[in-house]
Structures are given as structure tokens and as C-alpha cells.
């Protein structure tokens, strides 16, 4: 018995001591704004099958189906792997040819205002159709999508249940857009899990210091930097840790044969598209969600701007930035600590300045960013029906 007591004392001494930093009321208020998680998310009014189980099942089946490509070589999952936070782990994706951008994670995609690194799409269903039709990627066609849904007995039955009509009675473009809306309904279910940060945040919100102290102290120092001197929450705000808008952060945008125009080209893509929230394929007759599209204002500074990504599950979606040029979270933090302001293209914007962090502070911010990830739930790969 005595040896057991001695062992317990030794273990207690060796265990890391739970400690809560002396966060000020203002710091706590800033931290609490990054929750709660997960948020309540409404169905997408532009997509009449958003949130409907039959459509989710059809979308899930299509997501993993390489028959969308003419040679059965590519599916959505080729670049959005559930085991890699629905990204592909590559710096830039490889389709039928080398692609210029990193495949973004699909987690929490329902909460976005703009889709793609350049925001060339204002809704998830048009975004879902683009890579299927892009000759560099899946390389399919509206006729091919329609043919698959009409001729595969299981998909055909799923479609009929989801949309209330037989696919054979629907012309090819409308059927392909319906398929994209089913794909969107599936992707809307991809929500990142609660994380150690969320437990810490909720504990602070209810004044439970003992529970809050369970977050490692390095991560606590990191969150203090994040909401304080780092000013990271200017852009990485709210529960999703993003404002969903576009900024230049000094990452080079030159690609083979030219430059990636980022948001500048995204707005052009948006305005040339028939599949926006302002168009007739929007299932919401009021077009209420089209207000941002109606008022988006192209500006010279958009050139080289890219969408601010969420930081949730970032530890599992390396590499980082629109071109995947930063391999690790430490590389990302080091970029913000020491980047060259001359590389910014913000037309005189004064948001970003090198943070001048020392190595210990960089480690702390990385510890915080890692606390925004957790083990995801098992992936549901069931076929529809």
C-alpha cells in the first residue's frame, strides 16, 4: 500500500500541471466569439434538395463515382479525400494535367459565401459542377452525367426519390445541375468535429476555469497571440475562423505561363456564369442570397487576392495556401512572422505587418492551431438507396 501511495505521488509530480493563463475579460470576450461549435446551419434556399436525405445519399454516391469521368479515371474524391480532411495532401492537385492550385478542404463548406480560392462561384452546386466539366480535371460532360443517372438503376431510383421525377423525363443540362445540387447536399453534411479549443472556449464562456485549464498552456499562449498581438482574427474571425473574403498575404501568384489572378479572375468567372444565385437555376424565387453577388465590387487590389481559409482541421489539411507552397503550420506562422511587405498587392492596405514572433511564440501559435483539429467521425461511404 505504501509503495502504491509513493507511486501516486511520483506520478502526480511528473504529470503536467493544469494551468490557466490570466486571461483578461477582453481576451475572454474575443476568444468566446470563436464559438460555439458546431453552429446551427440552415438549408440552402438556392438548392431545393439541400438537407434532404435522399439527395444526400445520391450526392454521396456521385461523389465517389469515377464514372463521372469518360475514362472512369477521376471522381470528386480523387482530390477531396476524406482521410485528408477532404483535401488531397498535395501542394497543387494533379488532374489530367498539373493544376495550379491546392485542393481546398470541403469541411464546413455550407458556411461559405464564396467557393473556390478565387470565389468564382457563389453557390455550392455550381462549384460542384465545375470540376466535373473541366477538361483538366474530371473531364465529364452534362450529357455524360445525365446518361449515368438515367442508366444506372440505383442512381436513377435515388434521383427519382430525391427530386420527385424520373431522370428520363429531364433534359441533360437540368439533370446535370440536379446532380450537382445532390452533390452539394452531400458536401453540406461535411462538418468538422468539436476540438480541444471548443472545449476550452466553452469552459471560458461559462467560467469553468478547471475545465479551461485542460488546454495545454502552449496552446493558451497561442490563442492569446491569435486574438491579441497577432491580429489574426481580423480575417480568421468567428466560429469558422474565416471571414470568407479575399486578401493578399504576400504569397507569390506566378504560375507556369503567367499569373494566377485570384479574386480578380474569380469575379470575372462569376459574372460570366449562368449558374449564379442571380440566375434562373437558383431554386429560391426571391433570390435573397444573391445580395453579395449583386453588389460585389471588382477592384484593382483583387489581383493576387485569395479566399481566407478556415483554420478548423488545418493540422490535417496540409499543405497550405492557394498554391500549397507552405508545407507545415510552422511554415505558415513563420510566413506571417517574417514575410516581406513589398510582396503585398493591397493598393496601400495596412492590415498585414510582419509579426516579428520569436521561435517560442511561433511554437505557441502552432500549438493553438493544432488545438483546432480533432479526430473526424468515420466517413459514410454508403451507396444511395
Amino acid at each position: 500500500m505504501r509503495w502504491l501511495a509513493a507511486l501516486l505521488v511520483l506520478l502526480a509530480a511528473a504529470a503536467p500541471r493544469a494551468e490557466l493563463l490570466d486571461f483578461s475579460a477582453d481576451e475572454i470576450a474575443r476568444i468566446v466569439r470563436h464559438g460555439p461549435w458546431p453552429p446551427t446551419v440552415a438549408a440552402d434556399p438556392s438548392n431545393r434538395v439541400s438537407g434532404k436525405q435522399d439527395a444526400i445519399g445520391l450526392g454521396r454516391a456521385l461523389f465517389f463515382d469515377a464514372r463521372l469521368s469518360p475514362d472512369k479515371a477521376f471522381a470528386c474524391v480523387s482530390c477531396h479525400d476524406p482521410d485528408k480532411a477532404w483535401s488531397d495532401g498535395r501542394a497543387t492537385s494533379m488532374g489530367r494535367t498539373a493544376l495550379p492550385r491546392n485542393a481546398p478542404s470541403l469541411l464546413d463548406v455550407r458556411q461559405r459565401r464564396w467557393f473556390g480560392w478565387d470565389g468564382g462561384h457563389d453557390n455550392l452546386w455550381s462549384m460542384s459542377l465545375r470540376p466535373i466539366l473541366d477538361a483538366r480535371e474530371i473531364g465529364g460532360s452534362t450529357a455524360g452525367i445525365a446518361d449515368l443517372v438515367r442508366t444506372d438503376r440505383n442512381l436513377s431510383a435515388c434521383y427519382a426519390r430525391a427530386f420527385g421525377r424520373e431522370p428520363g423525363a429531364v433534359e441533360a443540362e437540368a439533370l446535370a445541375i440536379d446532380a450537382a445540387k445532390a452533390l452539394a447536399a452531400f458536401q453540406e453534411t461535411l462538418t468538422s468535429p468539436r476540438t480541444p479549443f471548443d472545449d476550452f472556449r466553452d469552459a471560458l464562456a461559462r467560467g469553468d476555469k478547471a475545465e479551461a485549464a485542460k488546454l495545454p498552456v502552449a496552446a493558451q499562449r497561442g490563442v492569446r497571440l491569435f486574438v491579441g498581438r497577432g491580429n489574426c482574427a481580423f480575417c480568421h474571425l468567428g466560429p469558422a475562423f474565416t471571414n470568407g473574403e479575399f486578401h493578399s498575404i504576400g504569397i507569390p501568384f506566378f504560375v507556369a505561363g503567367g499569373a494566377d489572378g485570384g479574386r480578380h479572375s474569380g469575379i470575372r468567372t462569376l459574372r460570366e456564369s449562368r449558374l449564379t444565385l442571380l440566375g434562373s437555376w437558383n431554386d429560391d424565387p426571391v433570390r435573397a442570397d444573391g445580395i453579395a453577388t449583386r453588389h460585389v465590387d471588382p477592384q484593382h487590389r483583387n489581383f493576387g487576392e485569395f479566399r481566407v481559409p478556415s483554420l478548423r482541421m488545418a493540422a490535417r489539411s496540409a499543405p497550405y495556401m492557394h498554391n500549397g507552397s507552405l508545407a507545415t503550420l510552422a511554415d505558415v506562422v513563420r510566413h506571417y512572422a517574417r514575410f516581406d511587405p513589398e510582396r503585398l498587392h493591397g493598393d496601400g492596405e495596412a492590415i498585414l505587418k510582419p509579426l516579428g514572433l520569436d521561435d517560442a511564440e511561433i511554437d505557441d501559435l502552432v500549438a493553438f492551431l493544432e488545438s483546432l483539429s480533432a479526430e473526424p467521425p468515420p466517413t459514410d461511404r454508403r451507396a444511395c438507396g
Binding site: 474571425l237 468567428g238 453579395a292 453588389h295 465590387d297
Partner: protein
């Protein structure tokens, strides 16, 4: 809030009849310029961070002359950048306008800018 309404009543009483129709802006913030007075309020109130909102704006000219449609914008002086959206203006009644499509995409201090017949009137707004 009550002072804004009182100011509006005083403003209406002291100006020519055509200068400001009763705009039913309550509560509203007031900006007094050299030549114009602007009252404005957001819809919804309080205005949200990182989501679209509208501004209802009442404008009158101190000399009683007719008021042209104002221009409306917002920017962050400390960051030296504006919004990513250009609001659209519609006149809902004489002297009363609605600006749709504004969106403040960052927390911090913003400045609303109203340009009325060449006069620039500003008001700061802090948002968390």
C-alpha cells in the same frame, strides 16, 4: 436614441417644408455637415459583422434645396481599405434613401462616408 429622434423633429421643424420629409428613422444617427444633415440607421439593427445589411438614410439640405441621391461607402481608416461591395441606392421617399448590399468584413473601426452634392459627411462605427 431619444436624442436622435428629438434632433430629427427639431431638424424638420427648423428647415423648409421640402427639405426633409418625415423619414421615420428611429433610432438614427445624425451627421451635421456644413450644407447638409444626414440621418442613418442600419437594417438590421445592430448591424452585423461579416453579413450583408442595408442603411436607411434621410438627407436634407440646410438651404432647403432639393437633395440628390447620396453616395454611400464605408472604409477602415487604420487599415486603409474599404468594403468588397458597392452598395446600391434607391430613393424610397422624397429625401429618404435605402442603401443595399453593404458588408463589413472585419472587426474594428469603420467609417461610413456619405457624399451629398459634393459634401462629404462621415461617421465612425466600431464593430466586434
Amino acid at each position: 436614441m431619444r436624442s436622435a429622434a428629438t434632433s430629427l423633429v427639431l431638424l424638420l421643424a427648423s428647415s423648409h417644408a421640402i427639405a426633409c420629409e418625415p423619414p421615420s428613422l428611429e433610432p438614427a444617427r445624425r451627421i451635421d455637415g456644413a450644407k447638409h444633415v444626414v440621418l442613418f440607421r442600419s437594417a438590421p439593427t445592430p448591424l452585423p459583422l461579416n453579413a450583408s445589411f442595408a442603411l436607411d438614410i434621410a438627407v436634407c439640405a440646410k438651404d432647403g434645396s432639393a437633395v440628390a441621391t447620396p453616395k454611400v461607402d464605408a472604409w477602415m481608416p487604420a487599415h486603409r481599405h474599404g468594403m468588397n461591395y458597392r452598395p446600391s441606392l434607391t430613393e424610397t421617399r422624397k429625401g429618404l434613401f435605402r442603401a443595399d448590399g453593404l458588408l463589413l468584413h472585419m472587426p474594428g473601426r469603420w467609417e461610413f462616408v456619405f457624399e451629398v452634392a459634393g459634401e462629404r459627411l462621415t461617421a465612425t462605427h466600431d464593430i466586434d
